[in-house]
């Protein structure tokens, strides 16, 4: 019986951890995520191709962090990073692709 119980402990631990609320983001998590997003947006700026949606999402991340909602702040930061990366991809690929539209 003891052995059975010992064997079940790890399984129980996994089940209990699964039932626990998701890991709550900290201020440090936000700062890391925000800095990454901000760096990507800066790169888009150097390419002269920032998006208004990236700016708005970065602002939303900051606002959520100020309100102490770090889960939301991290999620918005990650979204802003994805948007910034998309704008960088656009600017890079358009360096050649614009020619496809040209009237000749």
């Amino acid at each position: 019986m003891k052995i059975v119980l010992r064997n079940m402990m790890p399984i129980a631990a996994v089940l209990i951890s699964g039932a626990m609320p998701a890991y709550a983001a900290s201020e440090a998590d936000f700062k890391t995520a925000y800095a990454t997003a901000e760096a990507a947006e800066k790169e888009a700026g150097a390419l002269r191709n920032q998006w208004t949606t990236t700016e708005a999402t970065l602002a939303a991340a900051k606002k959520a962090a100020e309100a102490g909602q770090f889960d939301q702040a991290v999620a918005s930061s990650k979204e802003a990073e994805a948007l910034a990366k998309a704008s960088i991809f656009q600017a890079t690929s358009e360096k050649q692709r614009w020619k496809d539209l040209e009237i000749r």
Partner: protein, 287 residues
Amino acid sequence: MSTHPAISLVSAALALAAVVLAAPPAIAADTPNPVVEAKAFQQFFTHKFPKLKPEDFVNGPYSMNEDLHRQWEEKEQFPPYEFALETGKEMFATPFKNGKTYGDCFANKGIGIRQNYPYFDATEGKVVTLELALNRCREANGEPPFSYVKDEMASLTAYMAFTSRGKPFDIKIPDDPRALEAYQKGKQYFYTRRGQLNFSCATCHVQEPGERIRAEILAPALGILNAMPIYRSEWSGMGTISRRFTTCNSQIRGVPLGPQDEEYRDLEYYLSYVSNGLPISGPGARP
């Protein structure tokens, strides 16, 4: 009969060199030819809209839709830009504190010269627009610059455009590689997709002129700057070329550049050049 391997190798190398030399250099394909390109640009629109005369294109969406055209004719009885025009005329004639006027900064005292702007300034190696020249004139005479997007700047350019009505755009690209580069950069900006909506200027104004985007009818790129500045009902006021460019960028969810940044000046240079020969019709009114 057998050939010496060394001779075969040399022959092959010579044949390869001949092929390579005969092919045009890759750079040539990218070298812009503004004269040929402007002709192709204008033909694209005249073929797309065979019923329109070339000079009709300067009327933007009003040339694309009969109902709008009738509305516009009635609107022109009491044009909404009239107040700005009167203000601009008065401002233009009023001396600065030092006694000089705007007219002192321009050829022909600033009258009937809109069609020559923008121009490439060989001294500074940059494109100079009328808006930029007006603010430089102010600063040279000890006055603070105006906002580039509306109000006073729109009034001044409205008056200057009015004195040039009917004169064909006459934009020059001097024999200077920097001028050609500015033209090319303007063209690149025009065709480059940007913003989250992934639109270029050409997406609306080359691919879809005459079509609706929400409630608006899209203007053709040909002649699109000839009517500037404009009173825009959407803005409930006047706007300059700078305003038009920055709001276009915002509408496609792109962060606009600063008014009169180099990209916008180059864009204006390109768009004006490809409309050479079409008459100035500004100030204009748009829905």
